[in-house]
Symmetry: C2
Amino acid sequence: MSYETQPIVDRIKEARQAKSMSQRELSKLAGVPQGQISRIESNAVDLRLSSLIAIANALDLELALVPRKAITAVQSITRQTTDHRPPQYPAIGKELSHMQMALRSLRTQSLAIAQADEFQKALASLNTLSIPTDYLAQIRNVRKAVEQITKSQNQMKAITDATKAITYLRNNIAHSTTTQIRNVPPKPAYSLEEDDDA
Amino acid sequence: MSYETQPIVDRIKEARQAKSMSQRELSKLAGVPQGQISRIESNAVDLRLSSLIAIANALDLELALVPRKAITAVQSITRQTTDHRPPQYPAIGKELSHMQMALRSLRTQSLAIAQADEFQKALASLNTLSIPTDYLAQIRNVRKAVEQITKSQNQMKAITDATKAITYLRNNIAHSTTTQIRNVPPKPAYSLEEDDDA
DNA sequence: ACATCTGATATATAATTGTATATAAAAAAT
DNA sequence: ATTTTTTATATACAATTATATATCAGATGT
């Protein structure tokens, strides 16, 4: 739509994808219909301020008016507090995404908030590494375990167990990659899909 | 209108008033009708993103999406780069406002950009002081001179002269107020009008 | 008293939004 | 493998709402 709105709209879309949320999931959190989010992200509409604020807040973002003089400083801070994930093999990336989704749906049900926070930290730590495909099977197992937590009798224990598994994995990977140089995920030179972030 | 939009809308209004712009003046700069600005500032509409961006930019503000973790830091920077004017006697405040208005309208006509910048700096420096009413007459004279610049033959000289006058005034005032303690402008305990900033 | 500038408002038009549904892609199951 | 089910995004249409144009009433200053 309007040329000036593009950067804001793009940042919304990137933020949602960085959290590996679906439009529908964001829709529920923000109270904005999924169809509307679709139109917004494709920049087909000039959305209203209330919608923008609702969506931004659902993504843990705040809308701010920054003096022109201060924008470089603000951008710098924003970059620092935004986590940049390293590239991952697609299969690995999916497993990580699914774990984050499972964690979020857990948060809406379970009361084990502190444990969920711990798990989130462990997962974030794992997310800083480029993970070799060797670990795919192990990660998949952890993911399945995480997705079962909901149905578990003792959710608290199930979460802490998962956290331990993740932490263990992370340490293994970190160690192996520092010892021997691993090849980095493929990173195709071009992609037929729209690319996530430059 | 919507309760969440209020803070943003308020900041827009404050920014406009801080620059002592009229809604019409902002309207021309932003390309948004004055009537619309009126409705926006009274929070009677849920404005569209393109309007918000246009208005913000006209006020030298940038719309930014800030991670929740970073908002305190951003607010801190924003406060630092936003100039807090000291209270002024109403008559003095009006003179200062009129000079800023004159300067802006000058910018749209004259090519003396560097000189205008100099003048703006001098004016900003004067604006940091709480000015005693003793100087009203002098300030008024300068203001009238500034308002005549448009019609002047040699605009460059007229501007630099005005800058000198302002700087001179500023130094006088700064000296007199440090030497002998002056009483600060009235600051009524309550006001029947809406108040500018807390 | 008059001219000018301020912010507010009525109306027509154009656009977003909500509801519901469609299409496409991915996962699961047989 | 192929069919079925689920999930993810896109779109059609009606209702609601913002926006532009024009005009208004009030304040301010000359």
